[in-house]
């Protein structure tokens, strides 16, 4: 029997990391069926993950690579190599 809430929450995270075994998953599911608080907790966790994954990307500023090139040290010193 999965204990509320510590043990159940631990299993939720194992589940979210994709590490859960069949037995653990069955135990978690049967606990969730009878525990409203853990159900809510699990729902919130999954929603958090969904919200995070939904964020849009932002564009790199124009001329970025040129600006970096301008800041690079003139030539590499102390480097021993032969062309």
């Amino acid at each position: 029997m999965v204990k509320c809430k510590g043990e159940a929450v631990k299993l939720m995270h194992i589940y979210l990391d994709g590490d859960i075994t069949k037995e653990e998953e069955t135990a978690l599911r049967s606990h969730l069926e009878e525990c409203k608080a853990c159900q809510e907790h699990f729902h919130e966790l999954k929603r958090t993950v969904t919200l995070l994954s939904s964020t849009e990307s932002i564009q790199v500023p124009e001329g970025f690579s040129r600006k970096v090139m301008d800041r690079l040290p003139e030539e590499k010193r102390g480097v021993r190599y032969s062309r």
């Binding site: 907790h41 939904s54 970096v68 480097v79 062309r83």
Partner: protein
């Protein structure tokens, strides 16, 4: 494309500066984005992303070409971001104190001191709101959450990038998710 970039990295290792510009162009979007997510500010993100590539160039001798370049680059960017965050607000992020649930309660207290979440949601776009909540995480949780959910690295890749054990990645991810669950539950 990947093959071409690997060649350009090897050229840069030999001291060919112009080859490095191709390397920057190839990775700039991802690294800028990563810095932005870590810092939550475009201007600082640009500065730090530039710094990341400069560090990479200066230290390129130490890059082992049998490893993934992106892993190495993300590590530099993450470490620089964490340094920057810590210098900026040494007392604010409380990460030393956060252990288990006692620490997570502090988040609720911080949230309660500010505006209500409802007000915030109304005044900000969802994206900005999520970014703000991510920026409220202590840097060591923040990096892992960003790498996992915004940049979709596997747990093993995150362990390689940050050079920390897989178990530590999981523990921090677990705590980061719990902290964000509390912060985002009313969205």
């Amino acid at each position: 494309m990947e093959h071409f970039i690997i060649q350009q990295i090897k050229q840069a290792k030999k001291g060919d500066q112009s080859a490095f510009e191709d390397v920057i162009s190839f990775y700039q979007g991802k690294i800028f984005q990563h810095c932005y997510r870590m810092l939550g500010n475009r201007h600082e993100a640009e500065d730090l992303a530039q710094e990341t590539f400069i560090r990479a160039y200066v230290n390129i001798e130490s890059f082992d070409t049998s490893r993934k370049f992106s892993t190495w680059l993300y590590r530099i960017a993450t470490n620089l971001s964490i340094d920057r965050i810590r210098k900026k607000k040494p007392d604010y992020y409380l990460d030393a104190e956060i252990k288990g649930t006692e620490g997570l309660d502090m988040y609720s207290q911080l949230a309660a001191n500010g505006r209500s979440l409802v007000e915030e949601v109304e005044s900000l776009e969802l994206n900005d709101h999520i970014q703000r909540e991510i920026s409220g995480l202590p840097p060591k949780y923040r990096g892992i959450i960003i790498l996992r959910y915004l940049e979709e690295f596997s747990l093993q890749e995150i362990s390689d990038i940050l050079n920390i054990p897989l178990g530590t990645v999981k523990t921090r991810l677990h705590r980061g998710r719990e902290a964000l669950r509390k912060r985002l539950r009313h969205v």
